[in-house]
Amino acid sequence: MLETFLFFLFAIVAVVGALGMLIARNPVSSALWMIMTLFSIACLYITLNAEFIGVIQVLVYAGAIMVLFLFVIMLLNLESMPSLGDLDWRKVVAFALGIAVLAQLLVVISLKLDVMPEPVAIAEAADATSATNIGIALLTEHSFSLEIIGVLLLAATVGAVMLAKKRFV
C-alpha cells in the first residue's frame, strides 16, 4: 500500500518536473526542474529496493552533473527564452486526453502480447543491486569493459581539453 502510494507520488513528481523543465522559460529554472525529476527518479529506485543505485543517482546526477549544468548556465548568463504565449487550453486538454488514451491502449496491447517483463522478487532485486554484487560483477565479469571505460573517460577528458585550450588552435 505504502509502496504503491510512494510510487505514484514520485512518478507524478518526476513527470511534473520533466514538464516543468520543458515549460520553464528561464534556463536556471529548467535545470532546477530537471533536478527535481532526477531526485524523484532516485526515490523511485529506492522504493524498488535499489538503494545503492538510488543514492548513486543523487550523487552523480544531482550532485555532480547538474551542478556543472547550473555552473555553465550561470557563466553564460543565458537570456530567458521567449515566453510560450497564450496557451490554448482546449489543445492542452485534448493532448492530455490523447496521451491517456494512447497509454491505455499500449497497456492493453502489451498485456495481450505478454511483453511486459515479469516482476522480480524483492529480495532478489535488492540482492542484485547491492553495492557488493555490483562491485564484484564490475571487477570480475566486466573488468575488461571497466578498463576500457577508464581509457574512454581519459580520452574524453583529453579531447575536451584539446577542443577548449588555446595551445591547440
Binding site: 533536478i35 551542478v67 547491492s130 553495492a131
Partner: protein
C-alpha cells in the same frame, strides 16, 4: 497502558527527529558562541560576556535580532529561488544526521534514526547537493558579488568532493562496507584499543579527508566563496534578516556535521578508548544503557574537539588564493588520495593473504 504503548509507537520516531533537529539548532548556537569566544582568546580579547552568564545567551540574542529584522529582497532577484536557497542549505545540513550511528545499543545494533545499508553514500550525496544552496543563492540575488561567490563555491565543492570521496573509499576498502555503523565497528579491536581507529591505520586518508571536509564547509582558509575583501559577503551578500540567519545556521550545522563525519570515519565514532577492556563489565552488570549513553557522550566530545580544531584553524591560517585552492585540490589531494586507495587496498590484500586481519 496498551493505548499509551500504541501512541508511543506512533510518535517515537517523530519525537526522535524533533529532538535531533533541536539538538542541531542548539549545537549551532553553541558553536557560534564557541567561535566568538575562541577567536577572542586567540586575539587576546574577552569576546561576548554580557548576555547571560559568561555571555552564553549571546547567540540567542543574535537570533532574535535576526528574526525581527526586515527581510529585504533585491528588486531584480528571482523571488522563489531567493527563498529556496537558504532553506535548502538548512534542510540538507540537518538531514545528514539521520543516518549517523550515535552509539551501539546494548543489543549490538546501531543507535540511529535510519540505519540504511549505504549510509556513507547518503552522507556524501547530501554534502554534494548542498552546493545547490550556495550556487542558487549566488545566482538568484542578481548581484555580481553573489554570483562570483556562488560560482567559486560550486567549483570548490566539486573539486574537493572528488578527493573526499576517494579518501572515503580508502576507509570503505578497510571496512568492506558502505554502512557507517560497520565502518565504526570495524575500528573496534579489543587488543589494539585506539590504535585501531582509522586515523592511525590510515593517516594519509585522514589528512586528505579532514582538509576536504574543511573545504566543503566553506570556512577559512577555504572561504573564498564569501571572501569579504573581494566579494563583500559572497553568495549571501544580498540576504538579510532570518534568511541570512539560515545561511549562518547552515554554516555551523555543516561544521558540526563535518566533525561528526570525520570522527565516524576516522576517530572511531562513538567508540570509547580501549572500550574492549571494560565494555563486558557494563553489559554483565546490566548497565548496557549507561554504556550506550557514555558512547554518545564520547562521540559528542570527539565531534566537539574537531569543531574546536576547525575554529582554531579558521583564526590562525590565512585564506588561500583561488589558484592555490585549485592546485591543492586537483594536483595534490586527488592524486594523493588515489594513491592512498591503492596503498590501503594492497595492505588489505596482504593482510587477508596472511590471515592477519
Amino acid at each position: 497502558m496498551a493505548t499509551l504503548q500504541a501512541i508511543w509507537e506512533f510518535i517515537d520516531l517523530p519525537l526522535v527527529i524533533f529532538g535531533m533537529l533541536n539538538g542541531f539548532l542548539i549545537t549551532a548556537s553553541l558553536l557560534v558562541y564557541a567561535e566568538r569566544k575562541v577567536s577572542a582568546y586567540i586575539q587576546e580579547r574577552n569576546g561576548p560576556d554580557r548576555v547571560g552568564p559568561v555571555g552564553l545567551l549571546q547567540p540567542f540574542a543574535d537570533v532574535f535580532k535576526l528574526i525581527f529584522k526586515e527581510d529585504i529582497v533585491p528588486t531584480k532577484a528571482t523571488g522563489f529561488i531567493h527563498s529556496l536557497a537558504p532553506t535548502l542549505m538548512v534542510i540538507i545540513a540537518m538531514s545528514t544526521g539521520a543516518v549517523i550511528p550515535w552509539a551501539r545499543t546494548p543489543s549490538g545494533e546501531a543507535l540511529a534514526v535510519a540505519d540504511v545499508g549505504v549510509s556513507l553514500l547518503v552522507v556524501l550525496a547530501m554534502t554534494s547537493i548542498s552546493v545547490y544552496g550556495v550556487t542558487l543563492a549566488g545566482w538568484s540575488s542578481n548581484s555580481k558579488y553573489s554570483l562570483l561567490g556562488g560560482l567559486r563555491s560550486s567549483a570548490q565543492m566539486i573539486s574537493y568532493e572528488l578527493a573526499m570521496g576517494a579518501a572515503a573509499i580508502s576507509v570503505v576498502v578497510m571496512a568492506q562496507s558502505l554502512n557507517l555503523f560497520h565502518i565504526v565497528e570495524n575500528q573496534n579491536h579489543a587488543e589494539f584499543g585506539i590504535l585501531s581507529w582509522n586515523i592511525f591505520r590510515n593517516p594519509i586518508g585522514f589528512i586528505v579527508f579532514a582538509v576536504c571536509a574543511l573545504a566543503e564547509t566553506n570556512r577559512a582558509p577555504f572561504d573564498l566563496p564569501e571572501a569579504e575583501q573581494e566579494l563583500v559577503g559572497g553568495y549571501h551578500t544580498e540576504y538579510s534578516g532570518m534568511k541570512f540567519g539560515m545561511f549562518f545556521l547552515a554554516e555551523y550545522v555543516n561544521l558540526w556535521v563535518a566533525g561528526i563525519f570525520i570522527s565516524t570515519m576516522f576517530l572511531g565514532g562513538y567508540l570509547l578508548p580501549w572500550e574492549g577492556l571494560y565494555s563486558g563489565w557494563f553489559l554483565e552488570n546490566g548497565l548496557g544503557g549507561l554504556f550506550t549513553f557514555l558512547q554518545v557522550l564520547c562521540f559528542l566530545a570527539k565531534v566537539a574537539f574537531i569543531a574546536f580544531c576547525f575554529i582554531w584553524i579558521r583564526w590562525t591560517i590565512p585564506r588561500f588564493k583561488y589558484n592555490q585552492l585549485m592546485n591543492l585540490g586537483w594536483k595534490y589531494l586527488l592524486p594523493i588520495s588515489i594513491a592512498n586507495i591503492m596503498l590501503i587496498a594492497l595492505i588489505v590484500v596482504v593482510f587477508n593473504q596472511f590471515g592477519w586481519a
